[in-house]
């Protein structure tokens, strides 16, 4: 049964703040906690960003792997932002936030990957008629 049934002083049945959590909000902690959190997030972000810019401008890894490395770094940094700046965690108070995020990521991936895949097929059944078209077929 609802814990409110026994508590007649809460007629509207409003939930306690600590049981649920909205993205971006900061649950009550001591003052320094969130500053330390931010510092850690900033440090990790700086490292990842610097890494990305460094990799893009150097020959330290195998050339064709650079785009993949960049994307991995970008995803890692997005994760850092989600965790340290938006406070998305895996706790039970965050389930709805994570589910919404997962749905959003699914939609983004379907649209981006789907569009690329479909548009890649645009000319597949065509004989190139002009030089320009032939150029466009090259990846």
């Amino acid at each position: 049964m609802s814990n409110l049934a026994s508590d007649e002083e809460l007629p509207t049945g409003v939930l306690d703040n600590r049981e649920d959590h909205s993205p971006g909000d900061e649950p009550l902690e001591d003052a320094g906690h969130w500053v330390r959190h931010a510092n850690l997030g900033l440090t990790l972000s700086i490292l990842l960003t610097a890494g990305a810019f460094f990799l893009a401008g150097s020959n330290i890894i195998y050339g064709p792997a650079v785009p993949i490395a960049l994307i991995v770094l970008a995803i890692a940094q997005m994760g850092v932002h989600l965790v340290f700046f938006l406070h998305i965690t895996t706790g039970p108070d965050n389930t709805n936030n994570v589910l919404a995020l997962a749905f959003g990521i699914l939609v983004v991936f379907l649209i981006v990957i789907g569009s690329i895949w479909i548009m890649d097929h645009l000319m597949q059944n065509m004989m190139p008629t002009r030089m320009e078209d032939m150029m466009q077929m090259q990846p």
């Binding site: 709805n96 959003g104 649209i111 569009s115 479909i118 548009m119």
Partner: protein, 670 residues
Amino acid sequence: MFGKLDLSAVPLSEPIPLITSAVVILVALGVLVLITVRGWWPYLWHDWITSVDHKRIGIMYCLLGVLMLIRGFADAIMMRTQQAVAINAEGYLTPEHYNQIFTAHGTIMILFGAMPLVLGFMNFLVPLQLGVRDVAFPTFNSVGFWLTASGALLINISLLIGEFARTGWLPYPPLSETAYSPGVGVDYYLWAVQISGIGTLITGINIVTTVLKMRCPGMSYLRMPVFTWTALASCLLIVAVFPVLTATLAMLTLDRYVGWHYFTNTAGGNPMMFVNLIWAWGHPEVYILILPAFGIFSEIFSTFSGKPLFGYRSMVAATLFICVVSLLVWLHHFFTMGAGAAVNTFFGISSSIIAVGTGVKIYNWIFTMYGGRVRFEVPMLWSMGFIFTFIIGGLTGVLLAIPPADFVTHNSLFLVAHFHNVIIGGVVFAIFAGAEFWFPKAFGFRLYAGWGKVAFWCAFIGFWVTFTPLYILGLEGMTRRLQHINVPEWGPWLYVSVVGVAILIVGVVAQVVQLVVSIRDRELLRDVTGDPWDGRSLEWATPSPPPFFNFAVMPNVEGEEAYWGIKLRAIETQQLAPEPKYAPIEMPVHSPVGVYTAFFATVFGFAMIWHIWWLAIVALVAAFAGFVVFAWRDVHEFEVPAEEVARAERARRASREALLRKLSEEGALP
């Protein structure tokens, strides 16, 4: 000063739009004069226009939808009759005018007819079914509605000032680019749809948040009524794909206004990218419409069979399955693009698989009726008509999902018949069934059933007489959107189709008569109990119409079919639950910000359409200023005193107790 706008924008040479506009303006003026003479303005302003009550907004959405359905139906009548008289002849509509009509018909029916009605039902019902007092963001709800209304207004302005798009309801480039559509028609389309799309997105966000974060105590996910589930799924899709519409139309707008090259066929633009993106919105869009329709039918089948819905959890699973898979099928709208086998196979299979979810639902409805005590009320007639019609529509859809078959029937009247079959047979039937079902809840009296039955049979028969010939014509090779026809053999089928339209007109008239008769006899049809159909979900626990705070005391749900449980307990113990302690209620204050924003959105849209740049800037600044003033307000909520809550609740209890007594005297109780 006035951009491209001058007197030549009024189509003086074309009598049909001119006369129509004159009639519409006269009627509108008449209504305004009537309101002024009767002194109804304060009531309208305070209780409706600035209302943030989800029930009022829901009703206004439905009213807008009904008006637009009539407008769209008028377009349909013109198209059917034009094709019937234009066999080896010119007909009475010029090609330019005819093209505007089929474009307006599609746009209005989907975006300004069906969408507002579906959103109206969700707005009205979701908070009631969840046992809460309002949606998550009441004022934004009002903004959302009024933005949709301003989109509808813009589309109808195009009738008199300028022209509408001639591109079909999805303005495919390069035809819709400036090079081939230099007029303002496509611009009307772009701004009307863009503005109303933002309104729809706001409502979608609102309902998702309401369902996920605002449910009465005990209302866990698997206790929510199926309509609420479908509303959640539908609004998740709105949140997922309406941004795609916004983005796609924004790209086309950039192409048209500043000469960019997203979709041009020169300088590296890619017209197929538009088709790809717009259908990434467009296909989920039809599921946004049909899912709440499924929810409405689920409520009706269960109520009028006197049984809990068969396979409740499979229904929920099927809804979520459709919600996700509908994001994966959009390419079947352009199989003929010429994609390779991998792409066509993937999308063909996913389009076929989505029918499985619908099949689960159909069986659940049939099994709900099986063994039940079925009452053939008007909502039930629509629902049973739906099952029959929708199955055929679904099956022809599966045919079209097979790429080789689609290559043959693409853009033919077979396709036209198919999507009318699912949208009329699914969405429109659901809207009429739901209107009949929830009308007493919204207005306090039932609709007169006799005329409802006439309306149903006319719509059902009229539908089949209209669209069966179109299936046949499609298979015979007739393509869609033909202004005239050069194949005399098609004539007889087109005549039959016109007969069907005539039957449909009788159905529409019957609906109007039903409304008039019901309003006249409203005292006879009065619903004093608040539960006219022996309902099962929480909206029937409120009086009809519900007080603006919905529930004096938030219900405490203890199982599926929340109200059914409460009702059973009352019948078994022959008394209501003990009277609770009443407390004051906080409710949001009314706000003109919705109608204010929409007014400037309309001005902005109009200014952009006619390239009146200064006016567009003024409208934007004014809209922003309005939001700042709104954000600055000090009073957000007002308190309903406990005494008023108690008074309303005691009246409700008295009517329910009277009913219990009456049943007990009749010996109807166990």
